[in-house]
């Protein structure tokens, strides 16, 4: 029979799991919680409820030493109560009993606290110390603290406890009395599950007294009290079924007994299953959570990946944009340079064409010169044979003038080439224009005499300019050549200087020759121009001389202009930088 005894005992501990609906805190935990009016207390109680005993103990010790505990006995009683609870949970039953007793000795005015202290003490003697004789006095003291106002939860708790202890002490009548009191209360408050438990307890009671029929009746009542047979009361149901099995076994009704045993076992399985299900549910939950977490991680990873991708795309887009910009820039630059190159090419083409033309004219000139020289030489030889001295002289003079012309042309060509390649020595110095004109003109004296041209060098001997000596001489030579070319017998050529302004002196080569049209004049002043021979077959030259002049004047920091009237003559004006009076 002893095996059966354990069943109701297990009930005692887990008795108060469902509360009555009431305003005032009635259940022990709620009630204690309501008393905990400071953070520390609250925390201590919470830690205690969660079985964090050591931390709770520290807090309680701390609170005991605090000044408040010594001033307020209710507070002290509460702390001691909590300590007692602590010891009990720590299975230090004697220490627990001492502490609870100490708590009660504080004569607290709080009856509830005292009530629970007594209950606790009783419980310790039942389940801890197992001295059943000591239990009932505590419960009785607790019963004294009850009145009609006391909440049913406390009453039922106490009645059940008294019922249980009397059952254990084999005071069956007392036990029955208290069980029935509790049952009454439960039934009145429609607490079916608790009522069922009470029925079961009564069944146990009768079973102990070998009143098997009555026991079976109560067990059956218990099993039928459940309004719903679900997972919330499955443990109780299984135990009741087991009890029914035991009763029927005792009665010898084995068939019924087996049926109940089977039900009990099924329920046991269900419990196991339920637990399993819960576990599985838990596992499922965990799995789900993990899955969710994984999903989250995956999502995060995806996000990261996406953001990385996005960043990558952004960066590559930027790079592409930059590339595009750069390429557009270079394209534009290229277009620009292409334009420049094109225009340069055009200029080069025209220049090339000019040069080609120049070549052809120059070579033509030279060829005809040399050809004339050849035939003239032949004439010379034949005249020498016939000793026609007069004719010889004339021919030599012609030859000399031809050679002079050719030489001048070649000289200009050379100078032109040298100027283009910048190979010549070029040194700007002070010079008197008069002397340079004299030097150049010296070579033309014969020509002037021959052509009967009146020549005058009227340049002021004082006028000094800044120029490169040789290039200035080339300029003067060409301009005088030109003047001679476009003058006829008895015309005059004069060279003179004129102060243009404080910075420039003009050197003017004036002739009273053929002059030129305005078109020709403007054509000559153009940057690149060569005159063909179409206008005046005999005397219009290559234009190389004038081009050379213009380039050299420019290099000497001078200016060039032409004044001319057709039929009246031409003025070639070269402006050159002046040297100051004291220079």
């Amino acid at each position: 029979m002893s095996a059966k005894f354990l069943l109701p005992l297990s009930f005692l501990v887990c008795f108060f799991f469902s509360g009555f609906s009431q305003h005032k805190p009635c259940k022990k935990k709620e009630f204690i919680e309501s008393l905990c009016n400071s953070d520390k207390l609250h925390k201590a109680h919470l830690l205690l409820s969660n079985n964090s005993l050591e931390e709770s103990y520290e807090l309680i010790e701390n609170l005991k030493l605090g000044s408040e505990a010594k001033l307020d006995k209710d507070f002290e009683a509460l702390i001691l109560f909590l300590e007692g609870e602590l010891h009990r949970r720590n299975n230090s039953f004697k220490k627990s009993v001492e502490t609870y007793e100490l708590s009660l000795s504080k004569n607290t005015t709080n009856n509830d606290l005292a009530f629970y202290a007594y209950i606790a003490l009783g419980d310790i003697y039942i389940s801890g110390i197992r001295d059943f004789d000591k239990v009932i006095p505590y419960y009785k003291k607790a019963e004294l603290l009850l009145d009609k106002e006391s909440c049913p939860e406390k009453q039922t708790l106490l009645y059940n406890a008294l019922g249980n202890i009397n059952l254990l002490s084999k005071n069956y009548d007392e036990a029955e009395k208290y069980y029935i009191k509790g049952l009454e209360l439960y039934l009145n408050n429609n607490k079916t599950t608790q009522a069922a438990i009470n029925y079961s307890n009564l069944g146990n009671l009768y079973f102990e007294q070998y009143k098997d029929a009555k026991a079976e009746e109560y067990f059956l009542k218990a099993i039928n009290t459940f309004q719903k047979k679900d997972s919330t009361n499955i443990n109780v149901r299984q135990q009741i079924n087991y009890n029914l099995f035991a009763v029927n076994e005792a009665k010898g009704d084995y068939k019924t007994a087996i049926k109940y045993l089977e039900t009990s076992n099924t329920l046991k399985d269900s419990i196991w299953n339920r637990d399993k299900v819960w576990e599985i549910a838990d596992l499922g939950k965990k799995l789900a959570v993990e899955k969710k977490n994984q999903e989250l991680q995956v999502l995060e990873a995806e996000n990261k990946l996406k953001s990385a991708q996005r960043n990558g795309i952004l960066v590559s887009a930027l790079v592409l944009l930059a590339l595009l910009g750069v390429s557009i820039y270079y394209y534009k630059e290229k277009v620009k340079t292409n334009k420049i190159i094109t225009s340069q090419n055009e200029t080069l083409d025209t220049l090339n064409a000019t040069k080609d033309k120049l070549f052809s004219i120059v070579s033509h000139d030279l060829r005809s010169s040399v050809n004339t020289l050849k035939s003239s030489n032949r004439a010379l030889v034949s005249n020498l044979e016939t000793k026609n001295i007069e004719k010889l002289d004339q021919l030599l003079n012609t030859n000399s003038s031809i050679v002079n012309g050719a030489y001048n042309l070649l000289d200009n060509l050379l100078n032109w080439a040298m100027l283009q390649t910048k190979q010549t020595y070029f040194n700007i110095e002070e010079h008197r224009i008069y002397m340079l004109v004299e030097h150049v003109v010296f070579n033309y004296q014969g020509l002037f005499a021959e052509k009967e041209i009146k020549f005058e060098n009227n340049v002021s001997k004082k006028d000094k300019i800044l120029a490169d000596q040789e290039s200035l001489k080339i300029i003067i030579r060409n301009l005088i050549d030109n003047a001679i070319k476009f003058t006829e017998t008895n015309d005059a050529i004069s060279v003179y200087s004129k102060v243009e302004d404080e910075n420039y002196i003009q050197l003017i080569i004036e002739d009273s020759g053929l002059g030129m049209s305005d078109t020709t004049r403007l054509e000559l002043l153009k940057e690149t121009s060569l005159l063909s021979k179409k206008e005046n077959e005999q005397i219009i030259g290559t234009g190389l001389g004038i081009q050379l002049c213009k380039s050299m004047i420019k290099k000497n920091n001078g200016k060039f202009s032409i004044e001319s009237q057709l039929g009246k003559g031409t003025k070639m004006i070269v402006s050159l930088p002046k040297v100051g009076e004291n220079g």
Binding site: M418, K422, Q423, T424, Y425, F426, N427, R432, Y434, M435, E438, H439, F442, N443, K461, K462, E470
Partner: protein
């Protein structure tokens, strides 16, 4: 007046012929013709030229520049020179230009250009710019000679031959033992350039070579000079007396 001594350094015979002919036709005294560096240096030392005409290219190398460098080394013995060249090649010119004072003549040249180049060389060498070309002056004065432009050509007069100088407006009459001639030069410049220990102002119009003084007649304010020349002595310019007395 004496002719100018010219030393020609030119390796091309046809060109040196033309050059020498041209110089001699205008009363220049060609003291020698060298065709290489070595001859040029020895002739330079033996002939005492007043000016050198040096072709830059001698036998295909710009040795003419070396000649110019050699004669310019000793400032006491240095003489003016003219570079002669047919090329206006810049690099050669840049090198030649380092031999200061620098004067050049580009082939082909005419007489005027030749004489101009010689004149420029003298002016630059003696640092008397703008003498021969200006209307006002025609004489370069050095320690030993007066270089005087006569027509197209140049003449020289030994300074120690001068007995006295008589100033007339912008002109100066130079009186030597042998001759008497006029030069265009300002009195200020003459007195500045002539050696002040040798030439003394004796009168507003007279500069006298102290070495030619034979007697000073103070009572008549007259200075008797060699070869029977006379110069006035005014009260304002009596410095010469101290000098003569110390002699």
């Amino acid at each position: 007046m004496d002719n100018i001594n010219v030393l020609v350094v030119e390796d091309t015979v046809s060109e040196s012929d033309v050059l020498i002919a041209s110089l001699e036709a205008n009363n220049f005294n060609v003291v020698g013709l060298a065709t290489n560096f070595k001859d040029a240096i020895s002739l330079y030392h033996s002939t005492n030229p007043d000016v050198l005409i040096v072709d830059i290219f001698l036998n295909g190398f710009p040795e003419g520049i070396n000649v110019a460098e050699a004669i310019s080394v000793n400032p006491d013995k240095a003489k003016p020179f003219v570079f002669l060249t047919s090329s206006s090649d810049r690099q050669i010119f840049e090198r030649a230009k380092l031999t200061r004072p620098f004067s050049y003549l580009l082939k082909p040249f005419n007489e005027l250009e030749l004489f101009y180049a010689i004149e420029m060389a003298l002016e630059k060498f003696y640092k008397q710019k703008d003498v021969f070309l200006s209307d006002n002056e025609d004489t370069v004065i050095t320690d030993n000679y007066l270089f005087i432009k006569k027509g197209k050509a140049l003449k020289k007069v030994l300074v120690e031959d001068i007995i006295y100088i008589e100033v007339e407006d912008k002109y100066c009459n130079i009186i030597t033992e042998k001759e008497k001639f006029v030069i265009n030069i300002s009195l200020i410049k003459v007195s500045k350039l002539l050696n002040p220990n040798q030439f003394f102002r004796t009168h507003r119009r007279f500069i006298v070579n102290v070495e030619k003084v034979e007697e000073i007649i103070l009572s008549d304010n007259l200075i008797l000079l060699s070869s029977g020349h006379k110069a006035d002595l005014s009260d304002n310019y009596r410095e010469i007396i101290k000098r003569v007395k110390t002699l």
